[in-house]
């Protein structure tokens, strides 16, 4: 159990949120021109980092807005939270 500081609502319990996986995976601009390997990379392959990872979260039982989070997956400590479209903080 940990607390998440929603950029729209403030600090709430983690159980109000839904994790949305790795952040900054850009949807291909020309999907029709993608090879099978590139599709696999986009759809399935994940960094799954042990350590500092960039993620998307959704405040699904609150404002229902998406935002980004920088979190250390080895101890679940949140390093930074920023809105969608904002530049990720440099470590």
């Amino acid at each position: 159990m940990f607390l998440i500081n929603c950029p729209f609502c403030g600090e709430r319990e983690q159980s109000e949120f839904k994790a949305g996986g790795e952040a900054h995976i850009v949807r291909p601009k020309q999907p029709t021109e993608l090879s099978d390997d590139e599709w696999a990379e986009y759809l399935f392959m994940r960094k799954n980092i042990k350590g500092v990872q960039f993620e998307r979260w959704n405040h699904i039982h609150g404002c229902r807005k998406w935002f980004n989070m920088v979190r250390d997956t080895s101890n679940d400590q949140i390093k930074a939270i920023y809105k969608m479209g904002e530049k990720p903080p440099v470590e």
Partner: protein, 417 residues
């Protein structure tokens, strides 16, 4: 040659207060070079080493383990064994494992306490009923024993279940696989370790892999906390940490590592003589030989390597348990823990070669790897020794995420992932 475990060795050792049992496996320092190195000393890794030595005559091999053997997910699961999977590929894989389980204690001369007490899966809504009936038919076509039970038969098979139709998720029926059951998880690791050690396999504990050395597209060895080990074949069976090892080799895997929790109650007299799983409300329960209720909870939805899950998951599971088994309402829980499971997008494992020559991965078992331990080891050993998959694990190659030929067991596999 190790002494055989038997009633006579037990009696003999009783006279010396059990102080003179020989060591079940040595504790060697790594050699400079091996024909193959298995990364990960859990059940799957030790089984892989055992079958490499036994069936493929590869004796100069090592298992490296960063902690102690069987100390990861092998020692953290709820020990359920079954093979009632929907798809043909999965049915083949898991039933192969179940058939090995049936003779494993004799083969290893080590009591893995395999108990075919049956596994019952419950249906709580009309869609569950349809799905479970479909899976029962699919199982029987694949030669796997499965029967569908109506509510009364469920009650008869496990009388403590609350089959009132007035509860939030009433029991509408269930399936039963009688050959399924449980085993003692530590014994599986120890039995395979003892067997592998006897055939000359080096089991090296407290040895963490720090890097994988490549020469172009071929592996040359591994960097470890106990120095460099040269080898041409590396079999990675690192469960939740598979992606970490893959990153060392410059590979990306389709995995996410998440916490999965389980808990046990205080020990009580025998009350439930089978395993009951409920997909819809995510609660499963069995009773250990010590008398503890063994309860499996769900995964959290975020990536974590912390071996800790959230309290909400445990609470949700216990809510469901209490509705289904009101008799447990005053039981106290004794221990609760988490393990890190590596989940594939299609909830099926990967037992496969990779784009790097000599590097093999056995991962993605997600929430249900324990049941497959012997089969996984056998098939992974075959894949490593022949540099080609066995026909039973051909479908579980890593390339399926490129070809799209997924083995989608999400929801179909009799339990939520």
């Amino acid at each position: 040659m190790k002494n055989k475990y038997s009633i006579f060795s037990l009696i003999k050792n009783a006279f010396s207060y059990h102080e003179n049992w020989e060591k079940a496996w040595k504790d060697p320092e790594p050699k400079k070079e091996y024909d193959a190195v298995i990364v990960g000393g859990g059940g799957h890794g030790l089984a892989t080493a055992y079958y490499l030595a036994k069936k493929h005559n590869m004796k100069n091999i090592a298992v490296v383990e960063k902690g102690w053997i069987g100390g990861g997910n092998t020692g953290r699961n709820t020990t359920i064994i079954r093979s009632n999977y929907l798809w043909d590929a999965s049915a083949g894989l898991y039933d192969h494992a179940l058939k090995i389980w049936e003779g494993l204690s004799q083969e290893l001369n080590y009591n893995v306490m395999f108990s075919q007490r049956g596994v019952m899966n419950l249906a709580h809504n009309l869609q569950d009923v349809r799905d479970l009936k479909r899976r029962t038919h699919a199982n029987r076509l694949n030669g796997i024993d499965a029967v569908y039970l109506d509510t009364e038969e469920v009650k008869k098979f496990c009388p403590i279940i609350n089959t009132s139709q007035d509860i939030r998720y009433p029991v509408l029926g269930g399936t039963l696989q009688r050959r399924a059951g449980t085993a003692r998880h530590d014994a599986v690791a120890w039995g395979y370790a003892r067997g592998a050690d006897e055939m000359g396999v080096d089991i090296i504990q407290n040895c963490e892999v720090k890097g994988i050395k490549r020469n172009g597209d071929t592996v040359e060895g591994i960097e470890t906390t106990k120095g460099f080990i040269k080898t041409k074949k590396i079999g990675v069976v690192a469960a939740g940490h598979s992606s970490v090892i893959a990153n060392m080799a410059g590979l990306k895997l389709p995995l996410e590592s998440k916490p999965l929790q389980a808990l046990v109650s205080e020990p009580v007299k025998p009350i439930i003589d089978t395993v009951v799983m409920s997909n819809a409300v995510h609660a499963y329960v069995s009773q250990s030989d010590k008398g503890e209720l063994v309860i499996g909870a769900g995964t959290d939805d975020y990536v974590s390597y912390s071996q800790k899950g959230t309290h909400d998951i445990v609470e949700g599971t216990l809510n469901a348990i209490l509705e289904l088994y009101p008799i447990f309402s005053r039981m106290r829980m004794l221990r609760q823990w988490g393990g890190i499971v590596d989940i594939c997008p299609d909830a099926s494992p990967i037992i496969s070669k990779t784009s790097i020559k000599g590097l093999y991965f056995n991962c993605g078992w997600g929430t249900g790897g324990f049941k497959a331990t012997p089969g996984s080891g056998d098939l992974f050993a075959h894949t490593i020794a022949n540099d080609e998959p066995h026909k039973l694990n051909a479908a579980f190659n890593i390339n399926r995420f490129v070809s799209g030929d997924l083995v989608d067991e999400h929801g179909a596999a009799a339990v939520a992932h």
